[in-house]
């Protein structure tokens, strides 16, 4: 854990004790990052705002279940946000979601490579993952990013890339194995 992790871990402990000011401080620090994650998966600002609200309610209620030993607070917060966004996506009827599969897939084309922070400005840990991602074959890496960043299912990735779903599944599986190998345990 670095200093930022340490500070955020303490903020979570204060949230667990019912300290609303700690939640606000945490919100100021991480809400923009989490909002960006939610927007990528949900596309719609209203859905992302609602999800962000739920994420922080969940943080407020479950702060006591965060254990510093289980890793970085940001990994914990990111997971809460992503799982929430995936749940929202799953619960929406197709007509509530902007467009059909093909449209969604096309929308994400633009989002795939834009608005990324320069690799050089990343922390050492983030660069380590980036380096491992770069060692994957382009298809494996792209399929994994579309799943993780854009929240796409195997089927949606298949439509987006124009490859059979079985191929996509195998890319994702092999990509994850390679990442695990590259990053170690």
């Amino acid at each position: 854990m670095d200093i930022t992790d340490e500070a955020r871990s303490q903020l979570l402990q204060r949230c667990a004790a019912g300290d609303a000011a700690a939640l606000r401080t945490l919100y100021d620090q991480v809400a923009p990052q989490l909002f960006s994650i939610l927007l990528r998966i949900l596309h719609r600002t209203d859905l992302a705002e609602e999800a962000l609200q739920e994420v922080f309610m969940s943080v407020w209620r479950n702060a006591s279940s965060y254990r510093p030993g289980r890793g970085s607070p940001m990994a914990w917060l990111t997971s809460i946000a992503r799982y929430r966004a995936l749940d929202v996506r799953r619960s929406l009827r197709p007509d509530q979601f902007s467009g059909d599969l093909m449209e969604i897939a096309q929308e994400t084309v633009a989002a795939e490579d834009t608005d990324l922070v320069e690799k050089a400005s990343l922390t050492a840990d983030a660069q380590r993952l980036e380096n491992c991602m770069e060692q994957l074959t382009p298809q494996h890496g792209r399929a994994i990013r579309l799943a993780f960043i854009n929240g796409l299912t195997h089927e949606e990735i298949a439509v987006r890339i124009g490859s059979p779903i079985g191929t996509v599944k195998s890319w994702v599986r092999r990509g994850l194995q390679a990442l695990r190998h590259c990053l170690g345990s």
Binding site: F35, L52, L129, R173
Partner: protein, 247 residues
């Protein structure tokens, strides 16, 4: 399927974290997750490995209304939610510069160190008596009850005011009973039955008020209509919430 198999667990955990495990398989995995340490450990490992991918996304500042709704729901600050724009600017300015501000339901801002109280005048009407003990009982989606304890002033007795925000389904022959949970292992103390809808005032005896001031958690149990026959919770406990002591 043998979920104990380490490699299979790891593969499922990876798909779960990545998000490609969907539908019934995802829900089944989630159910098993709470009861399996190896599965939780595998999931945490993947969360830790993959979350770095999202730090490359450029941050997007959410509109201030999102925080206002959160603040409203956790009961942190009526002033921030209800007051005009200037107040929220004021709040932002203070939050940015002063560490550890406790904001009560009204307009009393207190810095933790040094021990100086700062009263900030706003257009929000000041409540003559402020509740210093407050709780929101909620499920995973939204608040159900808002509780505020008022210590008695002069000849008026102490009371707990409860507002049901929405009605949750419950069998007709059952009731929700509110309890104070002790940190030291003492048995829960009943505060009375919660209203299904609307509001209610639960009287607080001097003894109950004394316990309440030292209580950090409350719980709601499902009891026969009329309340627990034994004086202790007898049914399931669907809700637990922190009791906040402000100021």
């Amino acid at each position: 399927m043998n979920y104990q198999h380490a490699e299979l667990i790891d593969r499922l955990a990876a798909s779960y974290v990545l998000g490609t495990l969907r539908g019934r398989a995802r829900r089944r995995f989630e159910k098993l997750l709470s009861g399996s340490i190896p599965m939780r450990r595998a999931v945490q490992g993947w969360e830790q490995r993959l979350f770095w991918m999202s730090v490359r996304l450029a941050p997007v500042k959410p509109p201030e209304r999102v925080w206002m709704q959160i603040a409203n729901r956790i009961g942190a600050t009526k002033a921030v939610v209800a007051a005009p724009v200037q107040t929220s600017h004021l709040w932002q300015a203070i939050a940015a510069t002063v560490a550890g501000i406790a904001l009560t339901l009204g307009v009393l801002l207190m810095t933790r160190e040094p021990e100086v109280q700062v009263r900030v005048q706003t257009q929000v009407e000041v409540q003559p008596v402020q509740s210093a003990h407050t709780a929101i009982v909620a499920d995973a989606t939204a608040p159900i009850w808002v509780l505020n304890a008022y210590p008695g002033v002069g000849s008026s007795a102490a009371e707990l005011r409860v507002q049901a925000v929405r009605e949750v389904p419950l069998a007709a022959d059952r009731a929700f009973e509110l309890w104070m949970l002790s940190d030291s292992g003492a048995p829960p103390v009943s505060l009375g039955l919660l209203p299904r809808n609307g509001s209610a005032v639960l009287p607080l005896t001097a003894e109950k008020l004394r316990v309440l001031i030292a209580t950090s958690k409350i719980a709601v149990s499902i009891e026969p209509a009329g309340g627990s026959p034994t004086g202790a919770p007898t049914g399931p406990v669907p809700y637990v919430a922190p009791l906040l002591h402000i100021a």
